[in-house]
Symmetry: C2
Subunit: 231 residues, 2 copies
């Protein structure tokens, strides 16, 4: 069956995201240098984030709250001077960080939008994702924008049915095997993995090597050609 | 034209919300009692919230971050002992607070769902609103759930067109004149205001007295009868 609909992940597929989290985490390490070794601090933060994920979900606001909780923990409830205010400021800067499309993204999306219905499918803070899309200048290329709390097979089934002709006639692409590729394949869609140079620990998964509807691509520039060759 | 679609606000229309924010704010006043008079503290918090609204949007996580920022401010960057940890805990408790439908809500929704397509239209944290809907036991009565970053006329036009037959054949109800009533009327829908006993300062507005598609109702129990009498 011919492909009618193309889904795209946003963070680390269309623009940088994990880099900005890592830079903030570097800044957090520097802020906490008198209290904790980097490895210890990273491990505590990862533990706090994991514990809060079910309650906070994905996004900068939950991350900022987890940074503050980790700081309270590591300073035994006595954070010095401006530490907490500095963390709040770091969170606000993440939310207002400029958005620049990754190389090749505008070209690939323009090409795809001539032939397919483009849907943005992303997790994270609702308002922040909308703001990033607006700031990217890419918003008008999408016929649908779905900001979701979790990406599972049901999500892809629902989104590709709502905005297109179902998952069997849809192709997804993103940087996360766990969120973008495996559940889209499970829903019956095609899916391409385009790695970003960093992956959040929570998103690690094994590639579905040999799956008939899966491709591993080097960059988003290869994606339109791959979609054209399908079905 | 006959009504086909009914939109319902969630917080303070289907279940308590502002009460939980106010209880947390009472707790915040008690935590800060050594540093600030209640009136001064409330004014500072309102100012911080207003300043952060464009960046944080609506919801508990942004509110928690604003509480922490206010605490840093009022203690001049030297919050004692467990203050920040207590605020974090208060935020987590808001996110995991049990959800109980307001009186008359299940009956009204069951009646409406037999005749109309029900759409939940709400602001707030994406994940938290989904969790509250699941916990309310009302989720199956809705054919559509739209968690949005802002409620303006475009929002209602889009949502009632996507899930129904357009705003002209839709009726909205909610506790906020500013978010639920005025923009729905502007989009061309009918709208009923059902006051909650508390209103967040940000949501205050004047009722559109005399508007031909507006009604002021005492409780949600009156809403199904009002909708039946339309068009």
């Amino acid at each position: 069956m011919a492909i009618t609909t193309v889904g795209l992940d946003a963070d680390d597929t269309l623009w940088h995201n994990e880099t900005i989290f890592r830079l903030t985490q570097d800044r957090f390490r520097a802020l906490m240098a008198d209290y904790a070794e980097p490895e210890f601090l990273d491990a505590r933060l990862a533990e706090v984030e994991r514990r809060n994920l079910a309650l906070y979900g994905y996004g900068v606001k939950g991350f900022t709250l987890s940074l503050i909780e980790t700081a309270m923990d590591v300073t035994r409830g006595e954070p010095p001077g401006r530490m907490i205010a500095d963390i709040l400021a770091a969170g606000r800067e993440m939310l207002s960080h400029p958005v620049e499309p990754l190389p090749g993204v505008p070209e690939a999306l323009h090409e795809l939008s001539q032939h397919y219905r483009l849907i943005l499918i992303t997790k994270g803070d609702l308002l922040h994702q909308e703001q990033k899309l607006a700031a990217s200048g890419l918003g008008e290329l999408f016929v649908g924008v779905e900001i979701v709390s979790e990406k599972d097979a049901d999500t892809y089934d629902r989104v590709f049915s709502r905005h297109g002709t179902g998952p069997q006639q849809a192709a997804m692409c993103g940087n996360s095997l766990r969120s973008d590729v495996l559940p889209a394949l499970e829903a019956g869609a095609w899916a391409a993995h385009i790695p970003y140079h960093l992956t959040w620990a929570h998103e690690h998964a094994e590639p579905p090597a040999g799956h008939p509807r899966f491709a591993e691509l080097k960059s988003i520039g290869e994606f339109p050609g791959w979609v054209r060759g399908l079905g």
